[in-house]
Amino acid sequence: MTALGKLVRTTAFRLTLAYALVFAVISAGVLGYVAWNGRHLVEQGMRETVDAEVNGLIDQFRAGGIRRLVATVEQRTRRPGSSLYLVTTFVGEALAGNVARLPTSVLTSAGEDPDTPYERLDDPEDVTHHAYVRVFLLPGGFRLVVGRDLGELNSLGEAVKRAFLLALAMLTAFGLVGGFFVARRVLARIDSMTESANAIMAGELTTRLPLQGSNDELDRLAASLNAMLDRIGDLLSGLKEVSDNIAHDLKTPLTRLRNGAEEALRVAKDPQQYRQALERTIEESDKLISVFNALLMIARAEGGRVAENMAQFDAAEIARSVVELYEPLAEEAGVSLSVEAPGSLKAHGNRELAGQALANLVDNALKYARSAEPSPSGAVAAVQVSARANGDGTTEVSVADHGPGIPEADRERVLERFVRLEGSRTRPGFGLGLSLANAVMRLHGGSLKLEDNHPGLRATLSFPPPFAGAAT
């Protein structure tokens, strides 16, 4: 592509060209109107002057006859100027005036001729001039011709035309150049955005579009695109995290699974032993499957795919039913599980997912409710589930225990996948329960809060007001 072709193809050039064209057409119109109007005014003035002179000369003729007319005309021709006069007899013989020659056809009838060629007496050479003339037939066959040379008017017209063309050319040129630079400035920013975008596509994922801080349209666009890139970046790193997790945390159970099968092949001697090994294998793979399911669910919830099945549900009912579900388990574990969820609390979301999130929290609380050292008094460990509506329209369901709690420094971290704190590694689980609850709450546009229960942990699911923000 040639440099010119490249220039022509730019939006800057096209915009400029279009603007210059429109600009030129409008200026031409305005200037043309002014010129035409000016000429019209001058011509009208000329016609009026000639009329006045004709009237004056006719008055002279009426007062003093042909002699007086001739005298007056001769007097007037002596004055310098662009007027022309001619008095002739009925045969066309000149009696007075400053006209050397005039087309005879003009003399034959009375009237006006806007553009008559003629020659002047005071002009040494035989140059043809042009004039506006009026011809009058006087009694006795005399003819009176009064006119005005058009030379002045025409040269004025020429001057206007030249000025007009020059102005037009300059306007167009300035329009083109100015427009081009203005458009270039704007488009240069777009170009720099394009460059950044290309760099990002080429793999420099941390590059962001330049901002000028002017908060104009382009800046706002760039800011939005940057926010979009950040979001995509988050999703990507989430995805990367998932694959890292899979590599680290799923390989271990897979290895165990494989080792178990291998050992059975090596060591088992009778069908009974094979059977046991196979049963263990199935058990292990079931665990793996449930980990996979949890991971997929977290990934989907974090991807912000709002489930179609968001509807109104009763948060109090969820609290009661989950507690009811876990109550026997709690009793078996020697933990008192109680619920405080009056009436019904409307929240917007997915009952299934919310129930699962709460179940995870209750499950965790039961696991840790009995802290490492059982209380010497033998008091029953307690887990309290409560649901309430807040003044600001949010609905909260919280699970509080008196277990070891989570140190403040770790509260962010435990929401990540597969994170298990020291001391909990010996207990069953994969470190996905809180991640799942957190992802579910993000999907609902709510949050999972972890707080100190003095002692213990208070985990709170906070649902936003209905229809305030189901999607983040």
Partner: protein, 228 residues
């Protein structure tokens, strides 16, 4: 029981067919949606087991078309898609149950049998009194008696027993209980259901010679009169 399995993965289909035959069922197979649709319309099946992703005609469309043609054979969907909205889509299309791959065969069998039984017995099954051996459950008065003795059950225990007695003689799995008694479809990481069942068992079987509520190893539970 006559079962049609519509599944394009031939290994999986062969495995399911073999296992179902071992359980004494008659099994036909189709490997794509169109064949499955034709067979399902013609054959008089008790239950259809339909994979969601099939060549030629996907599972959802297959079932939707069947329902439009007034074929009301119970359908159990099999799918690798197991999220909440996937399951709801399957049920909306006319499916009766939804099972996510990978599944335990015992789960598939239990669900298919429950669906088939529902069809063969129809609404007549909705009796007001369920009876298994000397255990009676009156759905109207919400009274449960064993050998004439009234048993004191919590509301949820009552619903648990009611569900199991409606499917007396059939194996019900833990997830089926969670779904039907608690209306949750997630996979509880701990043995919550087992604890509920063992509590219930304590109430209905304790002190009686013949246990009615039995554990089926590797599958779930069944309530039946052991003498039968």
């Amino acid at each position: 029981m006559k079962i049609l399995v519509v599944e394009d993965d031939r290994d999986a289909a062969a495995y399911v067919q073999k296992a179902l035959r071992e359980e004494g069922h008659v099994v036909d197979q189709a490997f794509d949606g169109l064949d499955g649709y034709a067979l399902a319309r013609e054959g008089n099946y008790d239950v259809l087991i339909v994979d969601r992703m099939l060549p030629k005609l996907d599972g959802l469309s297959l079932v939707r078309s069947l329902r439009e043609q007034e074929v009301h054979t119970p359908v159990l969907f099999l799918s690798a898609l197991g999220q909440v909205d996937d399951r709801v889509k399957g049920l909306r299309a006319g499916g009766d149950d939804y099972l996510t791959k990978p599944y335990a065969f015992s789960e598939l069998l239990a669900r298919a049998e429950v669906l088939a039984r529902r069809r063969s017995s129809g609404p007549a099954r909705e009796e007001t009194v369920y009876q298994v051996g000397d255990l009676e459950l009156d759905r109207l008065s919400r009274r449960v008696t064993r050998a004439g003795q009234t048993l004191d059950l919590q509301p949820r225990e009552f619903r648990l027993l009611e569900y199991m007695m409606r499917h007396a003689g059939q194996v019900v799995t833990r997830t089926m209980l969670l779904e039907n008694v608690w209306d949750y479809h997630f996979d509880p990481q701990t043995n919550v259901i087992d604890v509920h069942v063992s509590r219930l068992r304590g109430k209905i079987d304790k002190g009686f010679d013949r246990p009615l509520l039995q554990t089926v190893r590797g599958a779930g539970y069944v309530i039946r009169d052991g003498a039968r």
